[in-house]
């Protein structure tokens, strides 16, 4: 059975990739396949610290592959640098999207390629459960999208986010471990943790008024930052909260199943041990995921003569708060889910 599905998945993947590679007709903007690149001009520029770098002006010639100008030749100029901080290096054979004088690489094929690799490998290693987790990711994204849509219609984003977090919890947890007592206690823990986290964040923000956090990174937003920042911080934690909640509740239900007469005191002690283990490993996942997002701009700043201390203390703050809030969520959920699970599993027993 598994082999048949793997073969099917493989063929669907190939078909999908073939489609994405040839989907130029879907675009309303013109797409050009590059046939030739010529260097027109070359100059060397120097920055304030004295780093020299060559800038090239290149002329690319290609053939339009969609729309009413299909198969016509077109050429245009663009700039390329060694660092490619804001420019890209194009090569013969690339497809680019043209909009006015701007060109952008057609990246959808590469994104699709990696998605296909991901889906196939998650099925090979995780079998049916792996596919289920992909379905749950897709459903969550749909909920997320609906939430954003409602926000644009004028509903408070923090309110939407809290509702969404509960919906994410119910959906992902019941898909991942079925509808049973374990899941129920995990869902209750997620709901309680969400509210506790929200109250906690609101209090901290009220006291400190975001002092010391630098919002440069999201300064591009045209909506009020206060609207967005708290929901953004909250939603980043919900995955970790769910993870902790389900791990705690399934371990506790395992303990209760093995020994029906286990005392609440003994349960508390064992759960404490499990909690310790979860705490040590979970924080690391968030740490690197969040903090390494600061690398590109860090390099840019240091190479422009900023001192490392100045930079870290003023610019690294938003990533740090994301990590801190995520970790607080994880650790907060440990006692909450322990309490809920024990109450639920040992109900009626003294």
């Amino acid at each position: 059975m598994k082999k048949i599905i793997i073969v099917m998945l493989f063929f669907v993947s190939i078909f999908f990739l073939f489609f994405v590679y040839n989907n130029d007709f879907l675009y309303s903007k013109e797409i050009m396949k590059i046939k030739n690149i010529k260097v027109m001009n070359e100059e060397t520029l120097e920055n304030t610290v004295g780093l020299k770098e060559k800038h090239y002006t290149k002329k690319i010639t290609g053939i339009i592959t969609n729309g009413k100008n299909k198969n016509k030749k077109k050429s245009l100029l663009y700039e390329e640098t060694y660092s490619s901080v804001i420019t890209d290096k194009y090569r013969v054979g690339d497809k680019v999207i043209l909009s006015g004088n701007d060109i952008e690489l057609k990246r959808d094929f590469y994104v699709a390629l990696l998605i296909v690799i991901f889906v196939n490998s998650i099925y090979i290693v995780g079998s049916f459960k792996g596919l289920l987790s992909i379905i749950s990711v897709v459903l969550n994204l749909i909920i997320f999208y609906i939430g954003l849509y409602l926000y644009f219609k004028g509903i408070n984003l923090l309110f939407i986010t809290v509702i969404e977090m509960i919906a994410f919890g119910i959906l992902s947890l019941s898909l991942a471990s079925g509808i049973n007592k374990k899941t129920l206690s995990a869902i209750i823990s997620v709901i309680i943790s969400t509210f506790v986290m929200m109250i906690l964040l609101l209090t901290v923000v009220k006291i400190t008024n975001y002092k010391g956090i630098n919002f440069n990174e999201i300064s591009f937003l045209t909506v009020p930052l206060e609207d967005v920042i708290l929901p953004e911080l909250l939603i980043g934690t919900v995955g970790a909260i769910m993870d902790v909640a389900i791990t705690m509740s399934s371990s506790i239900s395992e303990l209760v199943d093995k020994d029906k007469n286990i005392s609440v005191k003994k349960l508390n002690k064992s759960s404490k041990e499990i909690g310790k283990d979860i705490m040590s490993t979970m924080s690391n996942v968030l740490f690197f995921t969040y903090l390494c997002a600061g690398l590109p701009i860090f390099v840019l700043a240091i190479r422009n003569g900023f001192s490392i201390y100045n930079y870290i203390s003023t610019n690294f703050t938003l990533e740090l708060s994301r990590f801190l809030i995520g970790s607080i969520g994880i650790i907060m959920t440990i006692p909450i889910s322990t309490f809920v699970s024990i109450k639920l599993m040992k109900r009626g027993v003294k």
Binding site: K52, I86, T281, L300
Partner: protein, 252 residues
């Protein structure tokens, strides 16, 4: 008082509440990790090869998480071996993907943030993008690897007569559970970032196709997917290496 100071204090107190000894150890290891991360960043900014720096950093970080926070034993040694193998395998795929999809550098939405800098910094941002992907996947990969090797060790301790293939199979079974929860954690960690980006796209009237081809979006998506692929790949490799180590240990 600054917001982050309060948050750090809160985190520290919570860690101690869960367990005094482990909490302090964990907090110290996070401080260590932060210092190492900054050192890697700084070395990269000085102009050393970003990929070599980040690989070295990944190794040191895994070493600390495995051998300091946990202990040096048969489980953690197997995990470290598996992580090194995963990194080597993924390095080529990451480099290839970053190179062809040209996700290096900044997208339009960052221009306001970076326009105070000169862009002539003489560092190839393709390498920086590769380093970022490598560093961001290390935490999740170490996490799933240690979960599998320690669970497998428990299985073996409780039933020493299991054959090699049976042991490997139960390792894979444990892996499946870890896989689902880790994918979730990773996805939501990135959703927070996406939220601001998507609001921006909406305000700028981007279509679905515009979004998919946008540099920052593609870069973020590729970064999550590689973190997830790291977690997936480490499962069979850790299961295999831990099984071998346990069986070998029994013979001696």
């Amino acid at each position: 008082m600054k917001t982050n100071t309060i948050l750090i204090l809160l985190l520290f107190l919570l860690m101690i509440y869960i367990d005094k000894k482990r909490g302090i150890k964990l907090f110290l290891s996070l401080v260590f990790n932060f210092l190492i991360l900054m050192m890697i960043f700084y070395l990269i900014a000085l102009g050393l090869n970003p990929i070599i720096c980040s690989l070295l950093g990944c190794f040191i970080v895994s070493y600390i998480i495995l051998f300091y926070v946990n202990e040096k034993n048969i489980k953690t040694r197997a995990s470290l071996k598996s992580i090194v193998i995963v990194l080597i395998i993924l390095l080529f795929l990451i480099f290839f993907m970053t190179y062809i999809s040209r996700i290096a550098g900044f997208g339009y939405e960052s221009y306001e943030e970076i326009n105070m800098f000169s862009y002539d910094v003489k560092i190839d941002y393709t390498d920086i993008a590769v380093s970022m992907i490598l560093i961001s996947l290390i935490g999740a990969t170490v996490d799933s690897s240690i979960a599998i090797s320690s669970a497998l060790y428990e299985v073996y301790e409780n039933n020493k007569d299991l054959s090699k293939s049976e042991l490997f199979k139960s390792g894979m079974n444990i892996g499946k559970d870890i896989l689902c929860t880790t994918t979730n954690t990773l996805m939501f960690a990135f959703l927070g970032d996406f939220m601001t980006l998507l609001i921006w796209f909406y305000k700028c009237d981007y279509s679905f196709l515009d979004i998919v081809n946008e540099k920052t979006f593609a870069a973020e998506l590729i970064r999550i997917l590689f973190s997830a692929i790291g977690c997936i790949l480490v499962i069979p490799i850790t299961a295999y290496i831990t099984t071998n180590a346990l069986i070998k240990n029994k013979k001696n």
